[in-house]
Symmetry: C2
């Protein structure tokens, strides 16, 4: 089994993913928020790669059952119902709703990988469930890290490395590309204490500077949800 | 002093470099070869970003003093005089000559950074001289790693990390972006034994599979040349 890690979406184009199995990560905060929203009963999340498309996709045709969520440069977007905090997506607010979701980095990475044969979402919050799913998986897979503004984010790389490390504990046939080896190495250096990782990582520092302490705390929780979002027909739902 | 590392040229565009001081690295083999060629008396190296431009730039107008060198997919290009092995660029072959140089990754990274206010070249072969130059440098700088086919290469990241580590030994004001911290971390894990690094890195393995053992050996030598190529007026010469 060969694992590749795409440390920033900038290094690949959409067609790269044709025929591939892919896991997308945006720890701070998009994939963590999507996992939380589905866990709180959202009907589906529709990730979009551009703001223009949000406005197209969220017209009146959804009969009031559609919510717009996400952020641009960390802030809730004008006219949107919700931002990109996992804590906003409570059962009361989003149960049974379709959520059109746009974020600066996360949903761009997810939609870039849309041609994957199978596309899953991961964060620290559902990591062990992903490990279990891939413990006996036959075939290779890709991990795409959302990063930030096309750059590599330490926390996404460490999360990818944690998955690789935990898979290596249960199987001995894993081959790594250079970027996957880099992610694995970063996990061993920075992954043993996730709150401390967020103190070091640029994106973690930036979120704290902007007051998102509770989000950081939520996103640092390991394996609190035992479900995996899967992308199908342009929307994300939990894998059965 | 803030140091950023661009682990693959894919994450930036040419205009990113405007106003910046930049160090370009392609350990296997372009920057190592350029440093060797200048050290053996080449008049200048003209790095080009596309093969089409090589043919334009190397017409008869140079009066026989021009050599074409480089590679595509590790192999010497049809009609070129030399490949991308530092061992080919002997004094007998290239002294006093201008060399039009194209490589799959290295010269693309160098030409991408051409708008830098100052653009220097580094490899393991001249690393300590670069450390000395930046030991008292005022201002920030960028390190661009050529990588391979838009992907991150372990050996380039480790070389960048070695520079960062050696600078940290002599000054205490260094701030690192996430990718610079990643490079630094990779140096500590993989940088203590360069031949062993080339055994692990994908590009090193690939060169060995294709028989380039002597090149690998040459490229692993640390600080054997005390000069730094600088890019000016579209060509590379040693900094005085």
């Amino acid at each position: 089994m060969k694992i590749n890690t795409i440390l920033t979406p900038a290094v690949v184009d959409e067609l790269y993913f044709t025929g591939k199995t892919t896991i997308a990560i945006d720890v701070l905060r998009a994939t963590t928020t999507i996992i939380a929203a589905l866990n709180n009963g959202a009907k589906e999340i529709i990730p979009v790669g551009s703001l223009e498309f949000v406005h197209k996709a969220s017209g009146d045709t959804f009969g009031g059952k559609t919510i717009r969520g996400g952020e641009k440069n960390m802030k809730k977007i004008d006219g949107f119902d919700l931002g990109n905090s996992p804590l906003e997506y409570t059962r009361e607010t989003i149960e049974g709703k379709s959520i059109i979701f746009f974020t600066t980095n996360g949903t761009k990475a997810i939609t870039k990988a849309k041609y994957s044969t199978a596309l899953y979402l991961m964060a620290f919050s559902n990591l062990d469930t992903v490990v279990n799913k891939f413990a006996n998986y036959e075939g290779d897979f890709e991990i795409i890290c959302a990063g930030r503004n096309n750059e590599i984010s330490l926390e996404d790389a460490v999360c990818a490395g944690m998955l690789i490390s935990k898979l290596r504990e249960v199987r001995d046939d894993i081959e790594l590309t250079d970027p996957a080896l880099i992610a694995y190495t970063l996990y061993w250096k920075f992954g043993k204490n996730i709150p401390a990782l967020f103190d070091i990582a640029e994106h973690g520092k930036l979120l704290k500077e902007n007051g998102f302490y509770d989000d950081i705390k939520y996103c640092s929780q390991l394996s609190i949800i035992d479900k995996i979002p899967v992308f199908s027909n342009n929307s994300l739902k939990f894998l059965n």
